[in-house]
Amino acid sequence: MAAHASSFPTDPVAPAAFLEALRTEGYDFFTGVPCSLVSGLIAALEQHPGTEYYPETREDAAVGLACGAFMAGRSPVVVMQNSGLGVCVNALTSMTLMYRTPCLLLITWRGYEGKDAPEHIIMGEVCGKLLETIGVPHRAPTPETLAGDLAWATAYQRSHSAPAALLLRPGVTL
């Protein structure tokens, strides 16, 4: 939001349009823990009739919720800040990746290029490498590539029966 300078010259993708793209890709179960970078998206999730968004207490619990939802036939999305990725490492490695239960991880990239509050700098530097280390493929879309990268993440989950992540830098959406 206003506190974060956009990383891009173009306008962010409107939250309603992003949510519509997610729904069009088949996602029908949403949970997570908020970040100011996606406050608009979370508001859209909460307000959209017919869309279930469950605000969780911790990011790993949200990943657990998504795992159960997947086994019950849903296509889950977990929204979190990259600080929450640290919380999720065991849930991802000893549950999601081990049982091979797909979910889309929408992870905001705080600390991008070192421009953020001190607590975000280290995770901002390593979050992509951390995802690679544990074996979760990811892309960091721009507003222009968001739709295509979302389609990639969905296709990866289906072909590999595994989670995929989009790292959302400031200015990709609101």
Binding site: G64, G68, F70, M71, A72, N90, M95, M98, R100
Partner: protein
């Protein structure tokens, strides 16, 4: 009451419920008592059994979901009691096997020795929450959970068992556990 006695008492009552198991001895003991396709054995991700089960319960309100949790597991994810209470799934029965120790790692003490988890569930907003100290109390408490809308919570006080744990490890692969559990939900 031992864990095995409690599980044997509840086994005939489970019906077509799907049961999400906490990791460690709880999964292994239940696997030995009665292996069912509707059993999800969470072999890692300690703490998350109730979250996984809640994901199932919210996705399929028509299916009864039972959690076989442990005291150490629940303490690791106490926020889950708040999540369950805030979402109020009527199809959700939370059984916590409480021996006051981390039994799977050698009976090291847990704070549940002094903290009553059933009162935390009650305060969070489960519709009913009770402590069962005997097999008879447990059976009666679980039978009531089958009659009333959830979310309900039963703390089953179980003995600390000394000596080596004698129960096979779950011999299904993680993907087999996932697939037969998913299938059981759909049936």
């Amino acid at each position: 009451m031992t864990l095995e006695q409690g599980m044997r008492a509840l086994a005939p009552l489970l019906g077509d419920a799907v049961v999400v198991h906490a990791n460690g001895h709880i999964s292994r003991r239940s696997f030995g008592v009665q292996d069912r396709p509707g059993n999800f054995y969470m072999i890692g991700s300690m703490g998350l059994a109730s979250s996984i089960g809640l994901g199932v319960a919210l996705s399929r309100p028509d299916r009864r979901v039972v959690i076989y949790d442990g005291d150490g597991n629940l303490l690791m994810n106490l926020g889950s009691t708040a999540m369950v209470a805030s979402t109020q799934p009527e199809n959700f029965i939370h059984v916590v096997w409480d021996n006051g120790v981390y039994a799977s790692t050698g009976n090291q003490p847990a704070v549940s020795r002094t903290v009553p988890l059933e009162k935390i569930a009650e305060a969070a907003g489960y519709r009913e929450s009770v402590r069962a100290r005997t097999v008879e109390e447990l059976t009666a408490a679980f039978a009531r959970c089958l009659e009333v809308p959830g979310p309900t919570f039963v703390l089953a006080e179980i003995e600390v068992e000394a000596g080596p744990f004698k129960a096979a490890r779950v011999n299904h692969t993680p993907e087999e556990i996932r697939d037969r559990f998913s299938q059981a939900i759909r049936e």
